[in-house]
Symmetry: none
Subunit: 122 residues, 4 copies
Amino acid sequence: MRFMIHNTSMQPIYEQLMDQIKTGIVEGTLQENDALPSVRALAKELRISALTVKKAYDALEAEGFIVTVHGKGSYIAGTDRGLVQEARRREVEELLESAIQKGKACGMTEEELREMWELMLE
Amino acid sequence: MRFMIHNTSMQPIYEQLMDQIKTGIVEGTLQENDALPSVRALAKELRISALTVKKAYDALEAEGFIVTVHGKGSYIAGTDRGLVQEARRREVEELLESAIQKGKACGMTEEELREMWELMLE
Amino acid sequence: MRFMIHNTSMQPIYEQLMDQIKTGIVEGTLQENDALPSVRALAKELRISALTVKKAYDALEAEGFIVTVHGKGSYIAGTDRGLVQEARRREVEELLESAIQKGKACGMTEEELREMWELMLE
Amino acid sequence: MRFMIHNTSMQPIYEQLMDQIKTGIVEGTLQENDALPSVRALAKELRISALTVKKAYDALEAEGFIVTVHGKGSYIAGTDRGLVQEARRREVEELLESAIQKGKACGMTEEELREMWELMLE
DNA sequence: GTGGTCTAGACCACT
DNA sequence: GTGGTCTAGACCACC
């Protein structure tokens, strides 16, 4: 699996990594027990600090997506892919929710929001 | 005009202020040449730092929504209400864009996105 | 509240900090909305890295014991003290469980375990 | 003698091995001069690194429980079974000690500790 | 002032 | 080789 880091983005690097790994799980690119790159190897490949990679792995482990074995490496946990997808859908929902809230706060009607939505979707 | 600050919110306080002033302009509550509360008065009323209020006013002035007269105070600029609305629409568009991007990244089809959208809009 | 760090201990520094803050909450030394020392101030006082303090605060926030406000500081969360105590009791239970397990694994009878227990408790 | 490794456990693999061999000595399954499996054979059987097995054997030899003859193999040392038991009792004592310490740190009385202990023992 | 993120090293324990 | 912890600095955003 290839990782891409946008150093310019406002999104923290460790969150970018987390997102890509979660996406890999949902898409099936990463399957249960698959080994993730070692912290140091990935850090070197992406030319970022090992601590940054570790922070991403730590957070993913805390959320139950991967398991880390001391001295061996990190592996995709046996999570139901559907559960992961459900979790990420909730993230999308939150974005839509804030968009709708902001739209209404600035006086847009539902019809205007729908128009904008269809335009964006293309 | 009454301002409300949510200290718990993830949105920075200065952005909350900016949003509420922009909303006031769009809704007509705040009209051209209306005086805004002084930085110190608003800071005291909301129990926040004067620097935070100043940052909001500065940003609004940079965006052309208000004008600040040294030694007198801040006033709603003679902005076309439509311009304000246009600026805010762009913000909504950005939120929708990131939602769509994240949705596709986690494997949602356009149809699924549309379903979620209609559900949220209700 | 005074913090004590044992640099010799095998327990990581950040865990020592977490334990002491949890203890403070249970004992009532730290109450809801009390401000914790800033990351940098505590790091300087204890002569440890600011990142180490931050790691402790981050973990405590993830467990719901404290809340951190960007640019302001960290505060004791409005957790029911009973809940904290319950969580820590579970930690004690795990230690006892492993002691009993190991004792039985090396052939100790329940009576022998009870004797040792009473001896330790004095 | 059959060995069991729990890869999920928080206890290091080499310690798991050491514990099982000590238990064998106490229970009499392993007696003086009994040959232990070769480092390589045991590593292959358990699908772990030979270095890990070596580390366990080295530690056991340092503690006097086994003797290793270069080029021949490892054998149970002529240790008094009581001595092994005594050593393991000390490990149990350490666990109880840390449990009591943690319990008191979180405000439990001796009576509460006793209650929990009796509950766990059942 | 505060926290949020990141770096480039180091040492240790486990495999 | 691996991960686990820690350091001493840096830059940024927010208050």
